[in-house]
Subunit: 137 residues, 4 copies
Amino acid sequence: MSITLKQAQQALTAAHEAAVQHNVKMNIAIVDSGANLVTFLRMDDAWLGSLDISIKKAKTARFFDMNTGEIGKLSQPGGPLYNIEHSNNGLITFPGGIPIRNNQGAVIGAIGVSGDTVENDHTVAQAGADAVQAVKE
Amino acid sequence: MSITLKQAQQALTAAHEAAVQHNVKMNIAIVDSGANLVTFLRMDDAWLGSLDISIKKAKTARFFDMNTGEIGKLSQPGGPLYNIEHSNNGLITFPGGIPIRNNQGAVIGAIGVSGDTVENDHTVAQAGADAVQAVKE
Amino acid sequence: MSITLKQAQQALTAAHEAAVQHNVKMNIAIVDSGANLVTFLRMDDAWLGSLDISIKKAKTARFFDMNTGEIGKLSQPGGPLYNIEHSNNGLITFPGGIPIRNNQGAVIGAIGVSGDTVENDHTVAQAGADAVQAVKE
Amino acid sequence: MSITLKQAQQALTAAHEAAVQHNVKMNIAIVDSGANLVTFLRMDDAWLGSLDISIKKAKTARFFDMNTGEIGKLSQPGGPLYNIEHSNNGLITFPGGIPIRNNQGAVIGAIGVSGDTVENDHTVAQAGADAVQAVKE
């Protein structure tokens, strides 16, 4: 089971609205269960370098079905997943990537957000993920 | 001068509507004047391999400010630009990529569409490009 | 708004002169607002490995509109942006990359310098960035 | 023996002047005997996709110490070097890349030019190569 375009658009729109509300300029990427891009948008004047980061966060969150920040705790020097970022053509393991689940809890994709502090990136990503999970299919 | 998110969304929506109307399943990518992605969508059940092709078509159209199919005429065996596709981390030089101009004719980005015949890819891309050029700024 | 060739040449010349003055051998790269190379020079006997580093520093500074050394403070183990260097085909996050602003303060590109200590790299880059900002347009 | 910065600047300036004279917008790259970039410039509004092509032309000309167009004759379907463009992270084998020789005829680097017809690319590159060979060392 994988996210539909309609669901990906809901996630994208909800995250975009959250970004506008928080007055932050974001890159927002949604991937499907195969970790392939479904929808994307970059807000005017958002950091250009965050384009790739937002996509990598979404992929990373789906690659391991957990929030990117959780992986980052394990990839520190001395940690069990030290430098896992070298795999998969580059992972991003700080906050801003979140798996997207349907209303039965199954992972159907992921969202990645980049453009501000990692706390704001995470908040905006959560708004996107929540929007999908809230919808009755 | 570069395409705004609002203009990129207009192009994406118009191209998506054209794809629905023609009953084809497309990947649609919009890049800015720096050839960097601004908006993207992949329709349900669209070819997965067309994801990268749609982005490369958009980049190629902006890289040379011409329709991708025009470059393909020049890059054939014996042609003046034979194997130009090896540059820029891979170009796509068959139809489906079109520069996006504002209503004064300046190139502000490009659209790339992939998922069906190259004729249909081009038709859908044109719908997206036309939607931006038609708008009074 | 993006740096012109004339401005990029001013930045390159000023940085080169600063390098000669400090008796250091540098690679110097200027990118535009799309993070694409505009001018470059490598001084005789400058480190060959610094060629790529200078370009990556310039791109990194433009990707996030801040000095590369600032990003490096945040990307340390335990920091919020740990291992961000894996994005964008490789970032360089130690000093030597600086955004270039016009005389109204808008970012129009960036300069990256590599070939000596990071302190000297930064000093030479600053000379280049200052040369552009000083000019009345 | 390799091209000096001073010689590379002479080649770059001569090629740039030829481009201005012919009213064409070019990307111009000079590499040394190790096929590594020494100087580069991109003229305002030159094709963005020609950035990479100009560098690849310069590298290709030095990789094989011949004009890029000569290699292109051999890399056609059925030819002895068919699809050689797949090597070295991408070659460009149509005209616009020329070895740079010193006034004793030794190859010390190469120039690559891209931004217009391959004939004009070649003409501008020749102006750059000639400027170095004409100088008594």
